[in-house]
């Protein structure tokens, strides 16, 4: 099978191929927001891989965190709520030379957009999805989210949440994602390692990033995570084992694992889509000229 998903990683980047950096738009996030760490980690990861900024598209939906594409110097598609993933899939299939990164919040990805996420994971589309999971709806001023913990009081649940939270990690493992990790936005270097690995990984990468909302989530704060997180890499976890990954995924309490839960090598959607074996779709010939014989079946 032709390896069409391999991304060109130039060894030298000249002045016409600038590395990714900050754009002239300053982030509008609240001071202290976890998302500052995520944008820094994305920038660091892409820079480290030396992927020219014009070959990167960052796709997002709607929410505080979904503003991220505006703050970097790559191409960006800031779409509508919950629909970043299918837009990103379409971009990949039009031009699989591009590095496509999806960013967005827990409401965007695990609430309104969860259907698309599950299907993208089972397709093993070569996307890197970095969620900024703050377990709250921030931009709409503090309602419960699909990852809010049981009992959490929010504006929409003044008596406390009475639903079980979604666990993105076990969901991703069950859905067929081939790179499943959790980051913490205060651990920027560690997060950048995970994102860089995820970008280099061939297949769907989910990096669920705990990115505290300093304004509306008084429960899952930076301190909350600092007291609980431990690194899977240091704990001897074997990321090639799916059962072990599931085992770690249900740990959420006094100890919260961060790092790589699972990685598997499987063909991507782009590897299996026959038409894409002819090169990036946008470079292929179009039209019926030369294919007139398709009309014969109508005679």
């Amino acid at each position: 099978m032709a390896d069409t998903s391999a991304r060109p990683v130039p060894t030298a980047v000249g002045p016409t191929l600038p590395l990714i950096g900050r754009s002239d738009t300053k982030p509008t996030w609240c001071p202290g927001c976890g998302d500052f760490g995520v944008v820094a980690a994305v920038e660091m990861a892409v820079k480290r891989l030396r992927i020219p900024s014009h070959n990167v598209v960052i796709v997002s939906g709607i929410g505080c965190s979904s503003n991220l594409p505006h703050f970097l110097s790559s191409y960006g598609f800031h779409g509508i709520h919950g629909r970043a993933v299918p837009v990103a899939e379409g971009i990949r299939w039009a031009n699989h030379d591009l590095t496509v990164i999806v960013t967005g919040g827990d409401g965007d990805g695990f609430g309104i957009g969860i259907g698309h996420l599950i299907h993208a994971m089972r397709r093993n589309v070569n996307l890197t999805y970095v969620t900024m999971d703050n377990q709250i709806y921030g931009l709409t001023t503090g309602q419960s989210s699909p990852t809010s913990m049981m009992g959490q009081r929010t504006k929409s649940t003044p008596e406390g949440v009475i639903e079980n939270p979604i666990d993105p990690i076990s969901l991703a493992l069950a859905s067929g994602a081939t790179y499943v990790a959790r980051g913490f936005s205060a651990e920027v270097k560690h997060l950048a390692d995970l994102i860089a690995d995820g970008i280099q990984h061939k297949g769907f990468s989910l990096i669920d990033t705990m990115s505290p909302c300093v304004t509306y989530n008084k429960l899952n704060t930076f301190d909350y995570f600092r007291q609980r997180v431990y690194k899977l890499e240091a704990a001897g976890h074997d990321p090639t084992s799916l059962p072990k990954a599931f085992e770690r995924s249900i740990e959420w309490g006094d100890k919260i694992p961060i790092g790589l839960f699972y990685r598997a090598t499987k063909p991507t959607y782009e590897d299996l889509e026959e038409v894409l074996q002819g090169g990036p779709l946008w470079t292929q010939p179009a039209g019926l000229k030369g294919h007139e014989k398709v009309l014969d079946e109508f005679i």
Binding site: T16, H54, G76, V87
Partner: protein, 553 residues
């Protein structure tokens, strides 16, 4: 034989059982609809006779197998005759597989219709020539048996057909749309199955590798349209197709295509609503939905072809308009157009369609602005991957560079003005789209006493009604709107000034196009014929209503 054909495939929303029938009309002149009446009825069960006998015309023949059903002579409509045909008995000579009876029946039907046996054998050879074993031979012999049996027990219809010229193409509206998309350079289709749009995906999927088109069955219509938008943004011509239910789910994304100015073609093949409605029956009830889909104002176009040849052309036009004007373009079909089959001349499906490169902005252009203000409203569109042209496209309101002005800038005077400028820029495109779209067309005699006003597949039955009315001494013509939106108000007013009496014909309850025409021109079309029973218009219905209007209206 080079004849024109129109075929109506009627079925119900069940996979097995129900009453299913196929109606074919053929002539050396092009039929534009299924027409009125039948000259040959082939009954596989008694229900077929009960349902369709009233449509039989004098001289018609009813074919049936007396082993399956009984029809008493007294039940036959006046002037018609029956051919009891032992299809099962004749077919059993070759196989116990009951499907071979069809070949016997086809043979008899060919004899009565005046179709030479060698023509039928040619068709059967095309269909079964590659099958293993004796299947082709069985079909050839069984059809010969049916043909000869009819020769002994029936006579050739007085409406028998004759060879008319070189072979024509025969295709459904959906196949024409799929072909048109391919001809226009479409490289990506994302779709979720929904009757009656599904067969667009079937045709493109069957030819995906040959034509180099990625066909993606999405998890839902939300994904389908967003994938198409992503692919278009990514640098290929892209399309999605659905019916009203799926289109309802696509509404928010349609607005995003308008806001981000990403070219997009959406096929909306309407079926009878509201809600699930009549999934296998036709209607033109989604025009309001197409007109109003999406919050806020943004430019769009709605093209409404009336038959497969026009569907091919309209789909190519849709891609051109979408690309030239960076807007969403809707091809409004319906079940009657999408699933009926009709003949198309080879010249009507040109394959040498110009397909310009989408790389229109030189890489490294200085001071590139994705949403630059221009006189036409169209701004140069770079593609991701082009060095030095990076931009962020957004569903939020933005400035010329694409920077959003929806948060810390909103409400500040300079940005209030920017918002107005950007809205004006986008909406300015409508004037250009109007000029670039097909204007309303008159068909039939000028100075007619009555003008039918119609759009979409309804136009077919009108075209067939015009000669019927002429034969009755009534001069009528048709004002047809291949572009439903933007409606060219100037051209429409000028056209309406040339009419005497008018009759608005639409396949919906409220006269949705009539309302649009009134909103855009101030002209109220008082005489109407609206149909919302799920069935297509029949020419005789139009004739009857036109005569009423000519007398009283």
């Amino acid at each position: 034989m080079g004849l024109h054909v129109f075929g109506l495939n009627a079925y119900q929303s069940v996979i097995r059982g129900g009453h299913v029938w196929f109606q074919a009309r053929t002539s050396s002149e092009r039929p534009y609809s299924q027409g009125d009446g039948a000259d040959l009825l082939y009954c596989l069960n008694r229900e077929t006779f009960d349902v369709h006998a009233p449509a039989l015309r004098p001289g018609a023949t009813v074919i049936y197998d007396p082993e399956r059903l009984q029809i008493a002579d007294s039940e036959l409509p006046v002037g018609t005759r029956a051919l009891p045909l032992p299809t099962m008995e004749l077919a059993r000579k070759y196989t116990t597989q009951p499907i071979l009876q069809n070949a016997v029946g086809l043979g008899a039907a060919a004899f009565i219709s005046g179709i030479p046996l060698d023509v039928l054998h040619g068709v059967l050879t095309d269909s079964f020539g590659k099958k293993a074993g004796d299947i082709l031979q069985w079909n050839l012999r069984a059809s010969t048996d049916g043909y000869e049996y009819a020769g002994r027990h029936a006579s050739i219809s007085e409406r028998a057909v004759h060879r008319a010229g070189p072979p024509k193409l025969l295709m459904t509206g959906n196949q024409a749309i799929a072909l048109g998309a391919a001809a226009a350079g479409c490289k990506f289709l994302a779709q979720y199955p929904m009757t009656p749009a599904t067969s667009i995906m079937h045709w493109l999927a069957a030819h995906a590798q040959e034509l180099g088109i990625v066909v993606k069955q999405a998890e839902d219509e939300l994904a389908a349209i967003h994938m198409a938008i992503g692919a278009s943004y990514g640098g290929v011509r892209a399309m999605t197709a659905t019916s009203g239910g799926g289109f309802s789910l696509m509404v928010e994304a349609l607005g995003m295509a308008g806001m981000t100015e990403v070219p997009l073609v959406v096929v909306e093949s309407q079926r009878a609503g509201p809600s699930t409605g009549l999934p296998t029956k036709t209607e033109q009830g989604d025009l309001n939905l197409m007109l109003g889909a999406g919050q806020g104002d943004f430019p769009r176009a709605i093209l409404a072809p009336s038959n497969p040849a026009e569907a091919y052309r309209a789909t190519i036009d849709a891609f051109r308009l979408a690309e030239d004007w960076q807007i969403p373009v809707i091809v409004a079909s319906d079940l009657h157009l999408s699933e009926s089959i009709a003949t198309v001349d080879r010249e009507e499906v040109p394959t040498d369609v110009p397909i310009p490169s989408l790389l229109t902005v030189p890489s490294g252009t200085m001071e590139y602005r994705r949403y630059a203000y221009t006189a036409s409203g169209v701004s140069p569109r770079a593609l991701p991957g082009q060095p030095g042209l990076q931009y962020v496209t957004g569903s939020d309101e933005h400035d010329a560079q694409g920077h959003l002005i929806s948060d810390v800038k909103s409400g500040i005077p300079v940005w209030i003005a920017e918002r107005t400028r950007m809205m004006d820029k986008r909406m300015r495109k409508l004037a250009g789209v109007t000029a670039a779209s097909r204007a309303p067309v008159f068909e039939g005699p000028p100075d007619a006493a009555l003008t039918f006003v119609a759009w979409g597949s309804t136009v077919g039955a009108v075209r067939d009604a015009l000669p019927l009315l002429a034969a009755q001494g009534h001069s009528t013509n048709l004002l047809y709107f291949p572009t439903v939106f933007p409606l060219d108000a100037v051209a429409t007013r000028a056209a309406m000034a040339k009419t005497k009496k008018t009759l608005l014909v639409e396949g919906n309850f409220t006269g949705q196009f009539g309302r649009l025409l009134r909103a855009e021109t101030g002209i109220h079309l008082a005489n109407t014929l609206f149909k919302y029973d799920g069935e297509p218009f029949y020419p005789h219905e139009l004739v009857a209503r036109a005569r009423e209007v000519l007398t009283d209206g």
